[in-house]
Structures are given as C-alpha cells and as structure tokens.
C-alpha cells in the first residue's frame, strides 16, 4: 500500500502571479475546504513537501528560485501549475519579461487552468497529483528492489 497519497504535503510558491491565484490556493487550504481532511498540510519547507504548487509565470528573476525549490524537494514529488499564467503565461504571455509557463523551468505534472484558478479545480488537481505520487513512489520501490 502506498502512503504517499494519504499525506500530500504541499508547498506554495508565488512566481509572478497577480495574487489572484495565490488567494485561491490559500482559500483551498483554509478551514472552509479543510484540506487537512485528506492530510494536506501547507509546509513552507521544500524538504518536507510532496506537491509543489506554483502560481504565476516564469521570468528571468524567478526561474532560479523555482528550480531551486524543485531541486530541494525530495522524490517522489509532483508539480502543479496553478492558474493559466503558470500553465502558459496566460494574459502576460507576450510581456517583454515573461518567459512562459512553469514548464519552461521545471517538469510540470499537472496543469490546472483558470484565471483565477478555482478551489474546485485545485482540489481536482491535488487528487490527480496524489495518484501520480503513488505511481512515482511505487516506481521508486520497484527500482530499489531491482537495485
């Protein structure tokens, strides 16, 4: 049995979001939706997190930060691009400083669109993410057995 899906700890990073998506991400984790029912905890520490929620697009300033957080997270890990800005750059896609979606910096597992992203969409995304977490964790166990 995989336990990764039973306790998805998230870390939230605001790339260059207009804050619309951030408010929705936090709303999802608030008592109203009570993410802790499913074991979701907002950690604020990449080393403890399993799911990386990025809001906003990637630019020259934050690309290193996004990569750094991703690198500090420990396998198995999943990245969710929250909001259309994080998916593709959204309304800001042709700004002079915007490089594009989060996938320009790190591999993204789930694209959760919306402007701003709805809590329901984000919950759907997290539900998908825990599935992927389980798969990755099973793959890791297989690899360990093989080694």
């Amino acid at each position: 049995m995989a336990f990764a899906s039973k306790s998805p700890w998230v870390i939230h990073y605001d790339g260059s979001s207009c804050n619309g998506c951030d408010i929705e991400v936090l709303a999802t984790l608030c008592p109203g939706f009570d993410g802790e029912r499913f074991g979701v905890i907002n950690t604020g520490n990449p080393k403890h997190a399993d799911i990386f929620l990025v809001t906003g697009s990637v630019n020259e300033q934050n690309i290193d930060v996004v990569r750094e957080i991703y690198d500090q997270m420990i396998e198995p890990k999943v990245v969710i691009a929250c909001g259309i800005c994080a998916c593709s750059g959204g309304v800001f896609h042709d700004c002079y400083n915007v490089m594009g979606g989060v996938d320009k910096a790190i591999p993204v597992d789930i694209y959760a669109p919306g402007c701003a992203i709805r809590p329901e969409t984000l919950i759907d995304a997290i539900v998908q993410a825990v599935g992927i977490l389980d798969e990755k964790s099973a793959a890791m166990r297989e690899a360990k057995k093989g080694a």
Partner: protein, 293 residues
C-alpha cells in the same frame, strides 16, 4: 533488587516501550490533530493521519545535508526508548530525567549538524527550552524522593496516598513546563506543529524523509513518557489507581491541546523567566516544607 535484575527489567521495559509507545503516541497525536481541528471549526484529518504521514516519510528518498544527522536522531530515539522503558518498568526517576535530556541533546546536535541557519536558530531555541524546563524536572525528581523516600518510580505503589497530596505544588510546576516539553504553543519556539508561526520549520528544517519520520516517532515517545510523569502523581498502593493516573494524563493532554490552540507564541525571554520563576517558587516552597517541617 540486585543490579542484574534491574538491568534485565529495564531492558525488557525498553523493548516493550519501543513497541507500544509509538502506537500510543501516534493515536495521541491523531487525537490532538482531530481535537485541534474541531477547536478551529474544521473536520480534521482521520485519527490515523500521523501514522500515514510517517509511513509516507519512510517511503521518501533518503537524502540529508549531513550524513551524521541520521545517526544522531537514531541515538536520540534509542535514549528516548531507554528512558521510557526505565520509567514504565518502575526504574530510577532521576536517571530517567537525565537520559531523556540526553536524548534532547542528541536531537539538538542533529539540528546543529546541518549548518543551516534556520535549523541552527531552531537548535538554539531548543537549547533555551531545555534550560527553561530542566530545573523544574530536577525539582520533580527531588520532590518525588522527599515524598516517597526513594527515586524508584515503583515506590509510588507502596504509598498509602498518591504523591500529589504531598507535592501538589511541584505538580503544578510540572504542568507549567509540560507545555514546553511537549513543544506546544505558546512555548513551541524550536519547532512548531503549525507552519504559520515558524521560521521555515525550526529544528527539522533540513531533516526530511525517513529522518523526519524518526523525529515524529521520537516526539510520540517523548509525549508518552511525559504524560506518564503526570500520571505518576495519581498512583498509590492499589494497582487499580493506575487507571486514575491514565485519566489524569489524558486530561492534562487535553488541557495542553486547548492551550496550544488558544495562545500565540511568546518570546524566549518570557519562557525562560516564567519557567524559572514557576520552578523556584512552586518547587522551592513545596520542597522546603517537606524538608524543614
């Protein structure tokens, strides 16, 4: 009891404690999260959530900034097991307090070993926490000796009255520092359970995966041991009174959860001062009465 018997009993106690305490501690932690959630108007996680968390942590990749960190945490865990085993098998209370402090010291070294500024702040604060509660813990052991005439925890079973009757002020002092020992708000300076009042994650900032899982288990074992200290005050001659002790420990735990949810974190200066004042006043008065009257 001859020394060999004592060693064997302590060893058996340690093994049993190492098996049972994580189970009990895990359920207590689950209860804590459930009750906390209810106090905040939420449904809260399932009772076994702490178990799921730890199982997940053990599934994660094993990486650490400094390889020795893992060793220190294992040492901390082993000493916590020994302290718990010694206490619950009726061993020497003074030695129990020393061994559990040793366990805390290993945890502090583990936090320092990562060289991360965040975990160093956490470690420095944990050192302050140890400084704050240690006088009261020693007074507790001394008070226990004055009340029962022995340092052996099993001594309470020969009493006609629970020791709370003679050292109730010491008990109040112990209740005060219990919040520090359980790392509950307002005294959760070194490592909070709640992310929102934390410099990243205090002591455990650099610990991850299996190491963090062991820290959780260490925390459960400590909780079970400290609640045992509370329960000890209510046990006397009749073995059935152990049930009263368990009930008292549970009430104390509930009180701690309530305090945790209702008070914001304080500064370390306040913690240190208040803990020492409480220890000196409560234990000082109580112990001088026992010694001089």
């Amino acid at each position: 009891m001859d020394p060999l018997m004592t060693i064997i009993v302590t060893l058996i106690g340690t093994v049993i404690f190492a098996i049972l305490a994580p189970v009990v501690g895990c359920l207590l932690a689950g209860l804590d999260r459930k009750i906390s959630a209810r106090m905040q108007g939420r449904v809260g996680p399932p009772l076994l959530q702490p178990y799921y968390d730890v199982r997940k942590l053990f599934e994660k990749e094993n990486v650490s900034v400094n390889g020795t960190e893992h060793t220190y945490i294992i040492c901390a865990l082993i000493f916590a097991f020994i302290a718990g085993g010694m206490f619950y098998s009726g061993g020497n209370l003074l030695l129990v307090t020393f061994i559990i402090t040793l366990s805390s010291l290993f945890f502090i070294i583990a936090a320092y070993s990562s060289r991360s500024p965040y975990s160093e702040i956490g470690a420095a604060r944990e050192t302050l926490q140890v400084m704050s509660y240690e006088p009261m813990v020693l007074f507790m052991a001394v008070g226990f000796f004055l009340a029962t005439g022995t340092f052996n925890v099993s001594g309470v079973l020969t009493m006609d009255m629970p020791i709370i009757c003679s050292i109730w002020l010491v008990f109040l002092g112990l209740m005060f520092i219990l919040t520090i020992k359980l790392r509950k708000s307002p005294f959760d300076l070194s490592m909070s359970h709640h992310a929102h009042q934390e410099i990243v994650r205090g002591m455990t900032t650099e610990m991850s995966g299996p190491t963090l899982g062991m820290v959780e288990i260490l925390h459960w074992c400590e909780n079970v041991l400290f609640l045992g200290w509370i329960g000890m005050f209510f046990v006397w001659g009749n073995p059935w009174t152990i049930l009263i002790g368990v009930a008292a420990a549970l009430i104390a735990y509930f009180l701690e959860i309530w305090i945790d949810n209702n008070f914001a974190r304080v500064k370390w200066q306040f913690m240190l001062k208040s803990a020492w004042i409480v220890a000196l006043v409560a234990a000082g008065i109580n112990l001088s009465f026992l010694v001089f009257l």
